[in-house]
Point group: C2
Chain length 138, copies 2
DNA sequence: CTAAGTGCAAAATGTTTGCATACTT
DNA sequence: AAGTATGCAAACATTTTGCACTTAG
């Protein structure tokens, strides 16, 4: 599951991702982006490299809805160094995906573990609901 | 968005769902089940009725992963009468979907609202992680 | 030279849609 | 009769896969 070879495709993909840390993107976005570049990447390769990077923990993957495409996000190595945990909220109305840094929320991790024997994965968990804007504009 | 006619298909679908409250099922499961019955239901109808029932709040829908099919669960009318809130945990290893009744967790609802102005929807939110069994059997 | 990665086109998957027909009211 | 739901088959969108070819080590 570890990538063995350093290929051109992997390089330019990672280089690009590093320029958009924290931004959300789909596999399609990546294909689209590199289509307009001098050196495109085949879509199978995009999917395979993204899967690879998810396994390596360099990017996260969010399955926000069955109909919409999966959403990725570059994290980089900083997360492994005990960096801040980040939760996500997805607005069911406007579709916005919101980042959330919150120490109190981190406590639910230990709560889940102690009380429910469930090892919560904050990187994959998404809170669904209605964001402030959408709630007010109603 | 409200169903106007009381059709045979809707009736037998609801009758069946009432026999499996809280159980998880996919649109495919339903098609499969009724295929072996004396009166099958077309798959478009299954999808359309399930969507309808979600809108009416009689069933919940969970998008667990982009590749897997959406997962439904019959709730019935009891939820509307302020019944207990129920969270879900999805094991990333064995794929199990676990029900969770927990008062402490309900507090994160108010936390999200007060501190992050986000109206959490417990019916749609799924916690991802590793379940006890999978954690121990490693 | 060997193992691994790439890219195309085709397949697979889950879901949605167009439309003629059938059913509810 | 008018309005709605059904069911089939075809359309869709996203993702995966088979396989011959290329590239990294």
């Amino acid at each position: 599951m570890k990538s063995k070879y350093k290929t051109r495709q992997r390089e330019i993909l990672l280089d690009y991702l590093k320029t958009i840390p924290g931004k959300h993107f789909t596999a399609g976005d990546i294909c689209e982006y590199f289509k307009s570049q001098e050196s495109p990447i085949g879509q199978s390769t995009v999917y395979r490299q993204l899967e690879e990077l998810v396994n390596e923990g360099l990017i996260n993957k969010y399955n926000l809805s069955a109909s919409d495409p999966a959403c990725f996000e570059y994290i980089g190595e900083n997360v492994h160094s005990g960096g801040e945990v980040c939760f996500h909220c997805k607005c069911e109305k406007c579709g916005k995906l919101i980042h959330l840094h919150c120490d109190e929320l981190i406590e639910i991790q230990s709560h889940m573990m102690e009380k429910h024997q469930f090892m919560l994965d904050p990187l994959r968990t998404v809170f669904y609901g209605i964001c402030e804007e959408c709630r007010c504009s109603e």
